[in-house]
Amino acid sequence: MDYRTVLTTCAYCGCGCSLYLEVLDGRVIHTFPCKTGPVNEGKLCVKGWNIHEFIHSPKRLTRPLLRQNGTLVEVSWDEALDFTARRLREIKEAHGSDSLAFLSSAKITNEENYLIQKFARAAVGTNNVDHCARL
C-alpha cells in the first residue's frame, strides 16, 4: 500500500487555496485543507473539499482522437501530433500566420500558458492569442 499526501493549489476559482491531495496506490481519494495556506488558513469551500472527485471521472479523455469519416476515433500520439503540426503548417503556408488562432487557458499552469503564446508568436508568427479572461 502506497499512501501519500501532496500539497498543491486548488484548481477552481481565483482564491488559490492550499490543499493536500490524499493519494492511495496512485489514486486521489480525498482532499483536505492546508492549515498554513496563506489564503485559506485551513479552510476550503464545498468545491475545494470535493476537488478530487473529477480527477478519476470515467469520462476523462485518455487517448488522442482524430476525426475520420466524420467521427472521432482513437489514434496514437504520433498520428495525432503529426496531423496537428502538419495541418497547422499547411494552413499557415496557404493563408498566412494570421489565419491561425490560439486559445490559451485560465485552467492550465503558467508554464503551459507561456509555451502556447510562445508557440503562437515565435513559431506561427501571429498574436492571435486569447483566453477566457472576459467570460
Binding site: P64, R87, D98, L100, Y114
Partner: protein
C-alpha cells in the same frame, strides 16, 4: 487585486459591488466576515440580493447596468460635502478638473432615478466609504461583463483616488479573478496585445527583446484577435484554424448558436482538454491533457500570488501534461522546444518577465510569492501603488453613464442577468463530473420574483420558455425575492439549459468583454 486577500479583514469599510463573493470566492468572503466581526462596515451593491447582502450594514439594489451612474452619484456626494482627499489628489493624480465637471451632473436625486437606489442610501455609502480610515473595494464580473465594463472599472478607480483609499494597507480596488489561473494566463501573455508581463507587442524594443530571447525569425507587431474576433474571423473565412487548450467556448461564450456555426467553419479545430467538451466534440483532433493533479507547475491567484502545483499521480491512461503536448506540436511544426521540466520553463519566464524576475520553483515551497518580484532577493509585493502609481500619476477619467446595449421592451419585457452558483464552476466540466457537487444541483434553473411567476401562472419547479433575440431555451423556475420584479437570473454552467444561447454578444469597445450581465428576454409558460 491591488491589495492582498488577508488585508481585507483589517479594512474599516468594505464596498462589494458586482461580486457574489460567498458563492464564487468563498475564502475571500471569509475575510469579509472577519472584517465585520472586527467592526468594519459592509456595503453591498448588487441587482440580486445575494447572501452577502443579508449580512451587509447597507444593501442597495441598483438597476442592471447602472453602475457608472451609481458610482458617479457617490462621488458627487463626496465632492459636494468635501469628503474627498485633496492632498492625495494634488500629489498623486491628474485629470481631476475635467472629472469634477462630469461628476457635477450626478446629484443623488438624479442618480436615484437612474439606478433605483434611494438618494439617502447613496449619501450613506459616500460617507462610510470616504470617511473610513481604510476602505476596500471588492468587485467581480458584475462590474466587468457589460458594454461599459471598462467605464465601470475606471469609475471604481476614480472613487478610490478621490478618497485616497489606495496604495495603503487594507484599501484598494480589488477585482476577484474567476478562474484559478486567469491572472497567470494574462501575466504569461495569453492576450492578443501583449507578451508576458503586459509588454506591448507594438513596441519595437520589446519585440526585439523577445525576438532575441526566442530565437524567432520575425515577430508580428500587429495586435491579434480576441475571442469574439477569432469567431467572426472563422465565420468570414479570414481565420482558418483554431487551437483551443482547456477552454469551452461552446458553453462559455455569448450567443452559442453563432459560436457553433463559426467553429464548424474551421478548416482545422484542435482541442486539448481533459474531457470531451461540447467544443471538443466539434474538433478535427482532440489531444488529451492532464488535470492539475497530474503535473507540476504554478498558478497565480487573484492577489498575484504565484503558488506551486505539484504532481500527485501519473497522467491517466495515455494522457500527457499540456506543456509536453505543446512542446511536441511545436517541435514537429518546425520550431523545436525542449524543456526538461516546468521548473526549467519558469527559469525562461523569469528571464523575459520583469514582474516574475525573482521567481523560481525553489522559492515557492512556502506561501508563494506575490508579483512584482523583480529579483531573487525580492520578497514579493503585498499591495500595489504605494507612494506612486505604475503609470506615475493616477489618471482620473471623466465618465458619463451609458445604458446597456439591450433594454427591455414590450416584446422582451424581462431583464436577464447570469452568473455562478456555489456548487458549480464555469462550464461545469469539472463540477458536473464531481458526484457530490452534481448531487447538490443537478440541473439549471431560472430565478424569478414570485409576483412575476404568479402573473405567468407558473409555480416552483414549472418549466418556462425563455426567449431572447438570439435564441430560446426551456428552464425550471425557482421563485425567489433575491431578484427584483422584472428581473430574472440564470446560472450559466448547464449546457442543456444554456444561458449563453440567450445572452447578448454586444461587447465593451475596449476590453471586448460581452454583456453577459444584461439582456432582454421574454418568458412563457412551457406547454
Amino acid at each position: 487585486m491591488t491589495n492582498s486577500i488577508a488585508e481585507l479583514e483589517d479594512a474599516d469599510c468594505i464596498f462589494v459591488i458586482g461580486s457574489n463573493t460567498t458563492s464564487s470566492h468563498p475564502l475571500v468572503a471569509t475575510r469579509i466576515f472577519r472584517a465585520k466581526e472586527k467592526g468594519a462596515r459592509l456595503v453591498v451593491a448588487d441587482p440580486r440580493q445575494i447572501q452577502l447582502a443579508l449580512k451587509a450594514d447597507l444593501y442597495v439594489r441598483q438597476n442592471l447596468g447602472t453602475d457608472v451612474a451609481l458610482l458617479n452619484g457617490i462621488m458627487n456626494v463626496i465632492l459636494t460635502r468635501n469628503w474627498h482627499a485633496q492632498s492625495f489628489i494634488d500629489e498623486r493624480t491628474e485629470g481631476f478638473d475635467e472629472f469634477r465637471k462630469v461628476i457635477a451632473g450626478y446629484p443623488p436625486e438624479r442618480v436615484a432615478e437612474l439606478t433605483g437606489v434611494a438618494a439617502s442610501d447613496i449619501i450613506q455609502i459616500a460617507e462610510w466609504y470616504a470617511k473610513a480610515k481604510a476602505a476596500s473595494i471588492v468587485y467581480c464580473m458584475g462590474i466587468t461583463q457589460h458594454t461599459t465594463g471598462v467605464d465601470n472599472v475606471k469609475s471604481l478607480a476614480n472613487l478610490a483616488m478621490l478618497t485616497g483609499q489606495i496604495g495603503r494597507e487594507s484599501t484598494g480596488v480589488n477585482p476577484l479573478r474567476g478562474q484559478n489561473n486567469v491572472q497567470g494566463a494574462c501575466d504569461m501573455g495569453g492576450l492578443p496585445n501583449v507578451y508576458p508581463a503586459y509588454q506591448a507587442v507594438t513596441i519595437p524594443d520589446i519585440q526585439k527583446k523577445f525576438q532575441n530571447a526566442w530565437a524567432a525569425t520575425t515577430l508580428s507587431d500587429k495586435v491579434g484577435l480576441t475571442i469574439p474576433g477569432m469567431l467572426s474571423g472563422l465565420a468570414q473565412g479570414s481565420v482558418r484554424a483554431l487551437y483551443v487548450v482547456g477552454e469551452n467556448p461552446m458553453v462559455s461564450d455569448p450567443d452559442v448558436s453563432h459560436v457553433k456555426k463559426a467553429l464548424q467553419k474551421a478548416e482545422l479545430l484542435v482541442v486539448q482538454d481533459i474531457f470531451l467538451t461540447p467544443t471538443a466534440e466539434l474538433a478535427h483532433v482532440v489531444l488529451p491533457g492532464t488535470s492539475f493533479a497530474e503535473k507540476d507547475g504554478t498558478f497565480s491567484n487573484t492577489e498575484r500570488r504565484v503558488q506551486r502545483v505539484r504532481k500527485a499521480i501519473e497522467p491517466l491512461g495515455n494522457a500527457r501534461p499540456d506543456w509536453e503536448i505543446i512542446m511536441e506540436v511545436s517541435t514537429r511544426f518546425g520550431y523545436p522546444m525542449h524543456y526538461g521540466s516546468p521548473a526549467e520553463i519558469m527559469e525562461e519566464i523569469a528571464r523575459v518577465t520583469p514582474s516574475y524576475g525573482g521567481i523560481t520553483f525553489d522559492r515557492l515551497d512556502g506561501p508563494g510569492l506575490c508579483w512584482p518580484c523583480p529579483d531573487k532577493e525580492h520578497p514579493g509585493t503585498k499591495f500595489l501603488h504605494k507612494g506612486r502609481f505604475s503609470r506615475g500619476k493616477g489618471l482620473f477619467h471623466a465618465i458619463d453613464y451609458k445604458p446597456p446595449a439591450e433594454i427591455v421592451d414590450a416584446e422582451y419585457p424581462f431583464w436577464l442577468t447570469t452568473g455562478r452558483v456555489h456548487v458549480h464552476y464555469h462550464t461545469g466540466t469539472m463540477t458536473r463530473n464531481s458526484p457530490s457537487l452534481h448531487a447538490e444541483m443537478p440541473e439549471g434553473h431560472l430565478e424569478i420574483h414570485p409576483e412575476d411567476a404568479h402573473r405567468l401562472t407558473v409555480r416552483q419547479g414549472d418549466r418556462v420558455r425563455v426567449i431572447s433575440r438570439r435564441g430560446e431555451i426551456t428552464a425550471k423556475v425557482s421563485l425567489t425575492t433575491r431578484v427584483d420584479r422584472g428581473v430574472v437570473f440564470m446560472p450559466f454552467h448547464f449546457v442543456e439549459c444554456c444561458a449563453n444561447i440567450l445572452t447578448n454578444p454586444a461587447h465593451d469597445p475596449i476590453a471586448k468583454i460581452p454583456e453577459y450581465k444584461v439582456c432582454a428576454v421574454q418568458i412563457e409558460k412551457a406547454a
